[in-house]
Assembly symmetry: C2
């Protein structure tokens, strides 16, 4: 009889469940946005590439700055409007790398988003506004010109669109759908390593959804391409915004129908079928060889944990 | 006691389940692609904006053309490599509107993709390769310049990437994730009309997933923004490639928690709570006022039908 596992309460996914109301109907109201940014309750997050500016003050730290203070730090360009937190306007500013470096001399920390999450430097509710700001500001930084005609474009709709004054094209922020899946063969599951992973870490396979395929087809294709494994049934589990740079991770469990491994070295470093009891040790950081899963902030942890706790029952469908 | 409905076998969704193997590992093999397009079994689909070139021959019609014949029609530019169908290479070509108009004088039909699906002009397995080609070729047409620096870009990877020779940026095809959801309040469901819909047609609400939100958050936000309705539980149903121009529709059922309607006239024309028995008549095209749902090729039909057949049980989760 299989072992039973229960690790207690589930930790939250990162980048979900903020208290931000996006108030998208306000984005094209120029007067509103102008007054919102001058409002005494207005605050901004400051993003510099992969890094975020924090104010040290114990844990959690503070990621919200008054608009004038943010401007005094030397933020770039115009802000993006993130929405309202209990009616208080929230914005995002970008900052050049050299300006961010100079901030490190004060009571401020400039640190990459992954470290913020892994070290738990911010309150859970502050992570999603950063994810929104980072995805939007990265998109702006890489889309200053019109893909249709090559002319410079301008930000509009409070940062939610870019307009070409030359050909008239309107460009919208991009979000790349990406499937991440745990293939299951009874009492073992398929974990893989990318060369980019920290030592000892194994995770789920993942890949971008291509034009003209369903989520389920993407799960099957990526599992076959990267590990040579065939999967049949695919069961959606949950999704997570993933601002590296601008994806949404769509997590699924999948039932293996042919289990022989054939690793594509261009895609992953290694893949193996991991017994459920061993995956439990990896989740708990108690594996004898120091192997581990991604941290609880990532949907991969949740996919693996759901399987470890419930076994192949995660593949039961309601339909 | 609620009525029971069973409409028999389910029709297939459009744009899914082709027999195409994408063979993505071949895309960067220039010699392979060069030989594949000269192979005797190579065939191409021809896309002109929203329209597709078909050869009349009863139903289903033929959408695959020999490469030399496609070129003789005056297709544009280089092809995109769609993959292999039973080892036979498949490509997609684009064609300028005026060249497509000229083809209408022969045994060929040039017709928009929606009509092809609604009229059932093609075999089910031929729809997905068209969706892939249309999404890719539309992306190429609208991304001839580098969004990062404004210089012209060139197609690479057999049409699956565009490269900038000036700043070195690599651009990948875009797929926009879009949620489409049926909100349920016991024995009634929420249907809405867009001004773009054919007369009498009502469907599910839908909208793009924004940067930094989960699928479930997007479902809740769009339902609230467009109709004023609050939903809690969200249950994934199925997904569908939607090449208008390059989306993936992610279909969900959602449980209403506050049902008062407040329609946003900028987003939709009208919304109403439709009793399950009335939705059944709309699905079957037997509604006394001529109201109807989208056709069976669309995931909206499937979302509504699943609810009509199974009732609020579609909201049961396995977790």
């Amino acid at each position: 009889m299989p072992q039973s596992f229960d690790f207690g309460p589930w930790p939250p996914l990162a980048y979900v469940n903020s208290r931000l109301e996006r108030a998208s109907e306000r984005r094209n109201d120029h007067d509103y946005i102008e007054s919102a940014i001058r409002h005494s309750t207005a605050r901004a997050v400051i993003i510099s590439g992969e890094r975020v500016v924090l104010r040290k003050r114990g844990t959690p730290m503070d990621v919200l700055f008054a608009i004038d203070e943010a401007r005094s730090f030397g933020v770039e360009s115009e802000p993006v409007f993130l929405g309202l937190a209990n009616d208080a306007p929230r914005f995002g500013f970008s900052m050049a790398p050299d300006a961010a470096e100079r901030l490190k001399t004060s009571d401020l920390l400039v640190i990459d988003l992954r470290s913020i999450v892994v070290q738990g430097l911010l309150a859970q509710e502050d992570l999603q506004p950063i994810a929104v700001a980072k995805a939007l500001l990265t998109w702006h930084a890489k889309h200053r010109f019109c893909a249709n005609c090559g002319a410079p474009t301008q930000s509009s709709e409070a940062g939610w669109r870019r307009d070409c004054g030359s050909c008239g094209a309107q460009h919208f922020p991009r979000t790349d759908p990406c499937v991440i899946m745990l293939a299951i063969d009874g009492e073992r599951c398929l974990l893989a390593r990318s060369a980019r992973f920290p030592q000892g870490m194994w995770s789920c396979l993942a890949g971008f959804v291509e034009p003209g395929e369903t989520l389920e087809e993407a799960v099957r294709r990526e599992t076959r391409e990267e590990a040579g494994v065939q999967v049949g049934r695919v069961v959606y589990f949950s999704s997570q915004p993933w601002p590296f740079p601008m994806s949404i991770m769509i997590g699924c469990h999948a039932e293996a129908t042919a289990t022989k491994l054939r690793v594509d070295p261009n895609e992953i470093e290694d893949a193996r079928w991991v017994p459920r009891a061993e995956a439990a040790l990896m989740l708990e950081r108690k594996h004898k060889d120091g192997l581990s899963t991604p941290p609880p902030a990532a949907v991969a942890y949740h996919l693996i944990r759901a399987y470890v706790e419930r076994g192949p029952d995660v593949l039961r469908e309601i339909r």
